[in-house]
Amino acid sequence: MKIVVAIKQVPVRDSQLRIESDQRWIQEDDLGFEINEPDAYALEEALQLKEKHGGEVVALCAGPSRATQTIREALAKGADRAIHIEDDNLRDLDTFGIATLLAGAVKAEKPDLILTGLQSDDLGYGQTGVVLAELLGVPHATIIMQVEVQGGSIQVKRELEGGWFQHIEMPLPAVLTIQSGINKLRYATLMGIKKAKSKEIKSVTPAAAPAATAVLERVYVPQKSKQTQIFEGDAKSAAAKLVEKLKFEVRII
């Protein structure tokens, strides 16, 4: 079974974000980057499916040159090879544009299954996988918590709202967007890191993509709508003030 996993590189979680002076994006110079967390789960699911059913895992990433590091990490974890759609100006595209580029690369690979995370931790549009399926003309399912391969088809467990789930069957090839927590992430081994150095990363120049229909015009810090009373001081005095409030005003102690 041949599986393509679409991964994205995003700023490290809990980074201190500073907005560029032109307010079009954040300052990236002093940021660290890592794999988008739901994509890490998609990669892990692909690796586990390969271990069970054999085949090949191809990591696919659209991003600037710095994304090479995240791609290397995917290879170190066990992906067999990678495709890097490399361009420093991909931010001008919207998700439809990015999905168009990814679809071009996927078509050439003719995989049985395409996995990606359900959303990105930076933009959070949550639609690249679904649009990719539409452009490839294959079925899809989103927010997936379990994947079972049954010959030429799959049964997946899809998360619904409020603690409900649903099984869905569909023929292959198909696109699945993977929910965080579907599996337990592995760490790259020393051997894996060594092997990754000789694995192929095919760098591709992006083809023409459609102009954005959703244009990011301005990034800013949201205005607080609620006044939060912050208790200052060291841990002990702040805790004492909070407990006093909870006891005498909120009356829950």
Binding site: P11, D14, L17, T95, F96, L118, D122, G124, Y125, G126, Q127, V130, V131, E134, L135, P139, H140, A141, T142, I143, E159, E161, G162, G163, W164, Q166, H167, I168, E169, M170, G181, P210, A212, T213, A214, V215, L216, E217, R218, V219, V221, P222, S225, K226, T228, Q229, I230, F231, D234, A235, K236, A238, A239, A240, V243, K245, L246, V250, I252, I253
Partner: protein, 323 residues
């Protein structure tokens, strides 16, 4: 091309509550752009629901009816709504940002060579749509471009259903042409994992723990605070994903929705998936090391600091206050 079309969501004849919030957003957008307002209800046997929607102020309700729309499938809903949109050419199509909409609306938008402007919290003159980035840490203004229609999904709680204006609208049935062969997925009945032993919905006090706790061995730190306060222990999604606490203690869009007298979020940054599950709480307390964490957006009281110092101090103070 004219009009605002609101796609309302129902399941087995019952409304998704966000449908009304989205219709309220539709009324506001239609007024702002000076265009008529339509809504669509998709399924089988939706006439009664369509009639209910028609009691609000809008111009027309489309009851999109077909036997193949009885159970939700991305293929069926996309094909049906694509036909409705082609027939009526609205300028804007609004959805509630539900799990179901996340499954098909991007596909529908792609059919019109557009991106879905998803999870929108507000809109301004233009219209320019406001959505959150980096899990709520930043906002962005998104301006639609291209030939249209503009596809937008609306975040839970961003618009108020109570603000809906009453009225009287026509109901029109729309029968899409669908073929069973074009529906490639086969959905099974929805199910719940197991009976819940913990009903967080009934808890008066909740102490909830998030990623800030760092590792499983640290959970007792917060557990002790819950015990001292006489509160139920709950968690954000990553904690349950890692198996540090059972899934039944999860609060948020994929877990339980709670509204206790007091909700204390410890080491929880406050991604929207968590906030929708607890922002109805009467009093919200946040303890977080990052003063910019979105949890402070909903908190009444807060302490900015290291939870490993603050929580033990709180345990001591609570015990003192109770004695």
């Amino acid at each position: 091309m004219s009009g605002v079309l609101v796609v309302m969501e129902q399941q087995a004849g019952a409304w998704h509550r966000m449908s009304w919030e989205t219709l309220a957003a539709g009324q506001q957008l239609a007024e702002q752009v000076g265009q008529p307002l339509y809504s669509a209800v998709v399924g089988q046997g939706v006439a009664a629901l369509a009639g209910e929607a028609a009691t609000k102020k809008l111009d027309k309700v489309h009851a999109v009816e077909h036997a193949l729309l009885k159970d939700y499938t991305a293929d069926g809903f996309t094909a049906a709504l694509a036909q409705l949109i082609q027939a009526h050419a609205p300028s804007y199509v609004l959805f509630p940002h539900t799990y179901q909409v996340r499954d098909f609306a991007p596909k529908l938008a792609a059919r019109f060579a557009a991106s879905l402007i998803s999870d929108v919290v507000a809109f301004h003159a233009g219209p320019v749509f406001v959505r959150q980035l980096f899990q709520g840490k930043l906002n962005a203004d998104i301006r639609p471009a291209g030939a249209g229609p503009v596809f937008v999904s609306v975040q839970a709680g961003a618009f108020r259903a109570e603000s809906l204006v009453e009225g009287a609208a026509r109901v029109e049935t729309f029968a899409p042409r669908l073929d069973a062969a074009e529906i490639r997925t086969k959905p099974h009945e929805p199910f719940r994992e197991a009976a819940r032993a913990v009903d967080l919905g009934a808890a008066e006090l909740i102490v909830s723990v998030g990623r800030g706790i760092k590792e499983k061995d640290n959970i007792p730190v917060v557990e002790e605070l819950a015990k001292a306060m006489g509160a139920e222990l709950a968690a954000s999604r990553p904690i349950c994903d890692n198996g540090w606490l059972p899934m039944e203690r999860q609060v948020g869009s994929s877990g339980q929705t709670v509204s206790p007298k007091m909700y204390m979020a410890v080491g929880i940054s406050g991604a929207i998936q968590h906030l929708v599950g607890m922002k109805g709480s009467k009093t919200i307390v946040a303890i977080n090391k990052d003063s910019n964490a979105p949890i402070f957006e909903v908190a009444d009281y807060g302490i900015v600091g290291d939870l490993f110092e603050v929580v033990p101090a709180l345990v001591e103070e609570v015990k003192k206050a109770k004695s």
